[in-house]
């Protein structure tokens, strides 16, 4: 992977992967300020498909599809990420439209887009799991942008003005950090020239992150959602955890592997699914963001199992806080976690996304290799210390189920 500084000052990681038919580009555009109304950054990401000074939304859509260019613009916790993918021979066509969208989006169609978003979110909220998950995020990141879910956006979206959108976008465009990673079967220097030619006006600035800090969870929080026809209870239980910058990051990767991220052999899977038959899906997730992270366990289970499932979570969490993992389990977890990292870089796009992300966070291009070495060195003492440090803090529990089962399990009176 070669690192180039483009003429516009943006740093670009470029790599040639021979014999791959499609080239992938990932660009990160930092978010430094809190939204004044929920959903501003999300609607920006959607409006970037909706027309520029010279072409309409329909023309953009036709251009992309006629050239088989995949454009995906996503609003994430810390950035807006633009992913662009096309056949190698169409890279210039892809960059042309990419530049036009970044430079010249008009955001004229914001009212119509708001209506579309409302419709999509109402449809999403017909899913019990999405509803419970949004409720979990709302509570684990209380009053913080990381906790903004569909309901918050539905409440605010009609209050968002065109001025709000343009101001927020201009802030991102002129006053935030940006970086690019491009991977495909095209000569690196050719890619650099094309980026210089087509992205000459995009600027990157290392500016201060003015977003609000994440507030600690002072007390255990149980938040319920009643859904009378739910066939399964949806249970999320989580804790605030550190960000990717923490020295504990490699330890937490292993905690997650041991508990529930690793497929068919994790503790939660074996105990709650294989031994107790409580669920089809049970797992743990660690999401590290720039301002902080969280770690949650999830199960979808017959509503009468709510109490048993939460007890099952407690038992496994207590066990990992109080008993050393065996040498064999730790070794297996390390090999598992390190081996899985190859999957994150299998395709040109996954490689561009991962390396672009590390660069965006300022972790450096050798972060992946360093992380692997750090994972190898994690001890069972560090596992127990880290588990105690974070799981002992108050948890947030979000449960969706019919009222009767929420009552029977003592979650509501």
């Amino acid at each position: 992977m070669e690192k180039y500084t483009l003429k516009n000052g943006i740093e670009a990681l470029i790599k040639r992967n021979k014999n791959t038919p499609r080239i992938a580009l990932a660009m990160y555009m930092g978010i430094n300020k809190d939204e004044t109304k929920s959903g501003i950054y999300y609607i920006i990401s959607q409006l970037m498909y909706q027309g520029t000074k010279t072409i309409t939304a329909e023309q953009i859509a036709n251009y992309l599809d006629e050239n088989a260019i995949d454009l995906c613009i996503e609003k994430k916790a810390d950035y807006i990420r633009v992913k662009l993918q096309c056949l190698n021979e169409d890279i210039e066509k892809a960059l042309e439209i990419f530049d036009d969208i970044i430079e010249n989006s008009t955001f004229e169609e914001y009212k119509k887009e708001a209506e579309k978003i409302k419709g999509e979110f109402l449809s999403d909220l017909d899913s019990a799991k999405i509803t419970a998950q949004d409720n979990y995020y709302r509570n684990i990141f209380k009053n913080h942008s990381y906790g903004t879910g569909r309901e918050e956006i539905l409440n605010d979206i009609n209050k968002i003005t065109k001025e709000d959108i343009i101001n927020a976008y201009n802030e991102i465009k002129t006053n935030s950090f940006k970086n690019i990673c491009v991977i495909g079967d095209v000569e690196e220097t050719v890619v650099k020239e094309l980026l210089d030619k087509h992205l000459k006006n995009v600027k990157s600035v290392h500016s201060k992150d003015e977003r609000k800090k994440i507030a600690p969870i002072e007390n255990k929080t149980v938040s319920t959602v009643e859904k009378e026809d739910a066939n399964q209870a949806q249970i999320f239980q989580g804790w605030l955890f550190p960000s990717i910058y923490s020295n504990e990051y490699p330890v937490i990767i292993l905690l997650n592997t041991i508990l529930g991220s690793s497929g068919l052999s994790s503790r939660l899977f074996l105990e709650l699914r294989e031994k107790q038959g409580l669920a089809y899906t049970v797992r743990s997730v660690y999401e590290p963001c720039a301002l902080g992270g969280h770690f949650f366990v999830y199960i979808g289970t017959e509503p009468k199992n709510i109490k048993t499932s939460i007890s099952g979570f407690d038992k496994e969490i207590t066990k990992i806080m109080t008993e050393y993992v065996s040498d064999e389990e730790l070794e297996n977890a390390k090999n598992n976690a390190i081996g899985k990292r190859q999957f994150y870089q299998e395709t040109n796009m996954s490689e561009a996304v991962l390396n672009g992300y590390y660069e965006f966070l300022g972790l450096g291009s050798s972060f992946e290799e360093e992380l692997t070495e750090k994972i190898k060195k994690v001890t069972k003492e560090e596992i127990i210390q880290t588990a105690k440090k974070y799981y002992a803090k108050p948890a947030v529990i979000s449960v969706l189920a019919p009222k009767k089962y929420l009552t029977d399990s003592g979650l509501i009176c």
Partner: protein, 448 residues
Amino acid sequence: MENIKKHLINYPYLERPVEIYERENGHKIVFAYKKGGLINISSWVRTGSINENDENNGISHFLEHLMFKGTSTHKAGEFDRTLESRGAIVNAATWKDYTFYYVTIPKGSSDKNFKDTLNLHADMMLDPIIPDNEIGAPFDINDPHITTKRERHVVIEEIRMRKDQPWTQVYNLLNKNLYTSHPYKRDVIGNEQIISQISRETVLEYYKTHYTPNNITTIIAGETEPSEVLPLICSEFDFKGRANAPQKVYDIDKPVNETKTIEEYSKINTGFLMFGYLGPIACDIKTSTILEMICLLLGQGQSSRLYQELIEKPQNPIFNVVSSDYYHFRDGGNIFIDANFKPEKKEDAIEQIKAQIQKLYNTGISETELKKAKKKLKAGFAENSESVSDIGENIGFYMTVCNKLEYVEEYIKVIDEITAEDIKKTAKEYMDINHAVIAVLMPEEYKK
């Protein structure tokens, strides 16, 4: 040394031709070369809900779960633990025409990971013991006092999970009304009553009937040399003279005589609907590809007709989501149009979709649309060659559902030969608005 037939297939976007070996017993082994650190080993079995009836519906999928419950030489859990502790992704899937099992694992610096994976995978495929204590005793689904829960309960939880998914609900409603007699009408996962009661003996008998050499294709996608590993695969896949299964033939259903609309209700806020039509058999590659193109033009991507006409252009769109897709099945594919809409506008929503379908076969498509569809289908094939698991899945599909991989060689040529007139004619033949099945899931308050 057994007599093994070999042939080569030029697979678009791969560096080397794919090598296919057919053994005397009918077991097929396929190698797809792709440079990189990951290797995908999978075995595809030619059975799924196509071979089920009202008494055993869901057995293919239940067996898929039970295949992970140990063999004579490896206890339940050993397979997963051994492979996942080396960074592997291990899983399986069941569909109407097939069931497949796969491991994707880092190759490592020696051939140990490959050899061990192959050994464990072949053992799982050939010697599942399905212990009583793993499957669990049959039980009364209405008995609330069951305390010992085993794999039956895991599958029942999967059924419950799907019942809470509106798109799955509307798909199931559509699927069972698309067919009259063909086994495709059943939901692949089955139902709680059958899964709670089905015996271990019935499951084992089903395994013996269908997991036969001529029904299995083993695929290796990654950086391997076939000449070096073929003997090992043959020796690991020792079927010990297992008899082959006769291939069952089913009557193919005809489209409905007149458009049929079925409606169900749920505690939801928006309306979900699916239009469905029966398509040609999977081996009719040309017509299947034309229908893929039709679905792509109708409802895939923001430039598609349905998206532009029903969501982008109207000032007050009644649709939240609209898309179209084509599913390939051995005995006839399915054409789908899916939509989520404002429930108070149900009749309007149905009429607007019908109008778009009618427009397609009355006025046809432009040359620009044709060109776009061709380019996107080809790029889609390129996309499917980017990971070893996608390559394995694509090959598994053709080998299992179409019986041969040669169709892959023809695919690009078939795409190039399709004309705008083919699109119009095929849409008229397969998507007549007077012979559609329409499934609708509405919020409960709309129940009359």
